[in-house]
């Protein structure tokens, strides 16, 4: 079906980014850098070069800093959160009625929820689910997408046709509807991190497969691939040593950008009640729970929402930075 259409769309989005970075003089390859490089007679690998450029992108650095803060605070949460702000999950039946729906104070910086639990503690712990799903789901998508995309691009012919038809089917099926259906199959007591990662991962591979397929199609025309083949390299060696390293940059860019999308999807599915079951805090679920108190206590939905927004934004901007740093046009 819309094979052409969606490719055009991906291309347009990529062009959009590419042009923007070029126009705004982001560190794509400013002249000063070139002369600097020549003056110092440094030789840098592609990756060192990319890191050098990334370091000069302020937005990307701020994003990295924010992601680090979120990661460190949520990983170390057991050490400092329950002691200072209270448990994110346990409900103290003695004090719950007196402590519920408190406004922000020194003791509870974001207030308390309807069960008397500290919202700040729940937001900090909620990052665990979001980050885990974001990173793991994209990892699943990348693994499936790389294998099928490589197969499709490298061999062509009928494997290519079949794989591309399957991606058509996936793309024709409305995304969030597909996710809801898959999660509805799983009984509520088994729903959790694994089902969430599996669902989002399974739905995300098609774009990765297409991006990788098109970059392989470009790379495999190169003379050095023919040379490798003439020297008797096996398909696997050609793939891993000659094609993969030159086709992988768009995937890294795409994967970084996808983490934000996966976090958004997780939040949406949790909001619809299909996520990790309570009492484990997740940002989407907290927003769903807070809906009932929208009139009197909008804070219940504002804080987890800001957490989602800031984290997703950080991954998106980091993705932009990585794209500029690797100088990926994503124009297949």
């Amino acid at each position: 079906m819309s094979r052409k259409g969606s490719q055009e769309f991906e291309k347009d989005r990529a062009e959009d980014h590419g042009v923007k970075s070029y126009r705004s003089g982001m560190p794509a390859s400013p002249p000063s850098e070139v002369s600097e490089q020549h003056a110092g007679h440094q030789t840098r690998t592609l990756w060192a070069d990319a890191w050098y450029r990334l370091k000069r992108n302020k937005l990307a650095l701020v994003s990295i800093a924010w992601i680090m803060i979120v990661v460190v605070s949520t990983v170390s949460a057991d050490l400092w959160v329950p002691g200072n702000f209270g448990s994110p999950t346990e409900i103290n039946t003695q004090t719950a009625s007196a402590e519920r729906l408190r406004s922000p104070s020194a003791e509870h910086p974001m207030g308390t929820d309807d069960l008397g639990r500290d919202i700040f503690a729940r937001v900090v712990y909620g990052a665990r689910i979001s980050l885990a799903v974001g990173v793991l789901a994209v990892t699943v998508s990348v693994i499936i997408g790389l294998i099928l995309g490589a197969f499709s691009g490298f061999y062509g012919g009928w494997p290519d046709t079949i794989i591309m038809r399957v991606t058509d089917i996936f793309l024709a099926f409305p995304y969030i509807l597909f996710a809801i259906l898959l999660l509805a199959v799983i009984p509520p007591e088994y729903r959790g991190l694994i089902s969430m990662v599996g669902t989002i991962g399974l739905l995300g591979w098609t774009s990765i497969a297409r991006v990788f397929r098109s970059s392989i199609l470009t790379v495999k025309e190169n003379d050095y691939v023919d040379a490798g083949r003439a020297l008797g390299a096996s398909d696997l060696r050609l793939m891993l040593r000659h094609i993969m390293p030159n086709a992988v940059a768009p995937i890294i860019v795409y994967a970084t950008m996808s983490i934000g999308g996966a976090i958004l999807t997780e939040a949406a599915l949790s909001f619809l009640g299909l996520g990790v079951p309570p009492p484990t805090p997740s940002w989407g679920r907290m927003i769903e729970d807070g809906r009932a108190f929208l009139t009197s206590n909008p804070g219940l939905i504002i804080w987890p929402g800001l957490a989602i927004l800031s984290t997703v934004l950080a991954f998106t901007l980091l993705g932009d930075g990585v794209r500029d740093a690797l100088d990926v046009k994503m124009k297949d």
Partner: protein, 324 residues
């Protein structure tokens, strides 16, 4: 062109069967029992239970059910809802217009706001307006849609009502009420649904226009003495619009397939909300009917977008064989 269209229509066939087979496979694995759900907690004699299961064909293996379903579908029969007993075609007839209204309202916002913001931002590059557009589109893309919906509900439905002592506010739920006509009910859901796409439309418009302005033919147009206005509208914007139109077209397809999150937040009685409730209630016939309707809409709109592409951009010719 005809050859291209017929080839594309042929490609619908595997996609259609792929999606419906997948759907059947997934839903038959679903553990909940629709018959039990329909009768609720009331006790039911095993004989009645067996009879109901038989009546809905739930005892057959999934592929037999599938063949039966496709057979009925070809006659335009989508079955009846297990929950309410109403024909599925009737349910979709009632709900789909709401999805269409929401989708078109959102697309209008997207076209006006998105395209205008993109043009302004490109023409006044690096101005504060450009900064504002760039910043707000980045944020809008990272916003959870359902959260934006809830914030709008709070701001326009609750805060504004308190602030004006109940004189001015917007409805936050449903599609009709005694105080407001339907189009007022449409405002907040439409803004919510349009948010992300408007941001993308603005970004694409901006980058396309910037690229076109730098082209040689635009410089030539200036050089041969055309007025700035003519160069802008006839030479620049017209060409820059092509990818934007494609994006908006594909987006319309996506919106017409039901906005589950927006419709759920605003209790908007569209097809997305209906399908979502049907999934929760294991009301298979409604789920199948809804998904098939949505699927056909998406496939047809995507085809229309690709065809219109050829009209908009004369460089594109869809040949018989290697066109794609």
């Amino acid at each position: 062109m005809l050859q291209y269209i017929s080839r594309r229509l042929l490609q619908f066939v595997p996609v259609f069967f792929g999606v419906t087979l997948l759907l059947f496979f997934i839903t038959t694995v679903l553990p909940g029992d629709p018959v039990r759900l329909r009768t609720g907690e009331r006790a039911m004699s095993p004989a009645v239970y067996a009879e109901l299961r038989e009546a809905y064909g739930l005892n057959d293996p999934w592929y037999i059910q599938y063949v039966h379903y496709i057979g009925k579908l070809s006659k335009g029969d989508l079955g009846t809802s297990i929950y309410t007993g109403r024909p599925v075609t009737e349910i979709l007839n009632d709900t789909y217009p709401y999805t269409m209204k929401l989708a078109f309202a959102a697309i209008i916002i997207e076209i006006i706001v998105g395209v205008a913001a993109g043009i302004i931002s490109a023409l006044k590059q690096y101005s504060w307006a450009d900064m504002l557009v760039t910043l707000s589109t980045s944020i809008m893309v990272a916003l959870p849609v359902f959260w934006l919906g809830l914030l709008l509900q709070y701001f326009f439905g609750i805060w504004l009502k308190d602030w004006t002592n109940g004189a001015f506010y917007l409805p936050v739920s449903g599609a009709s009420s005694s105080q407001f006509p339907e189009w007022v009910h449409l405002i907040l859901p439409a803004i919510t649904l349009a948010s992300v796409s408007t941001a993308y439309a603005a970004r694409i418009m901006r980058s396309q226009l910037l690229e076109v302005i730098g082209q040689d033919y635009v410089r030539t147009a200036h050089a041969k003495g055309l007025s700035a206005r003519k160069v802008l509208w006839d030479h620049s914007i017209k060409n820059a619009m092509i990818p934007v139109v494609t994006f908006i077209g594909l987006d319309l397809g996506a919106m017409l397939s039901g906005a589950i999150l927006t419709e759920t937040v605003f209790n908007w009685p569209g097809v997305g909300f209906t399908i979502f409730r049907a999934i929760s209630g294991r009301d298979y016939p409604v789920v199948f009917g809804g998904v098939i309707l949505v699927l056909i809409v998406v496939l047809v709109i995507n085809l229309l977008v690709d065809i219109s592409y050829a009209f908009l951009d004369p460089r594109i010719r869809y040949g018989g064989g290697a066109g794609e």
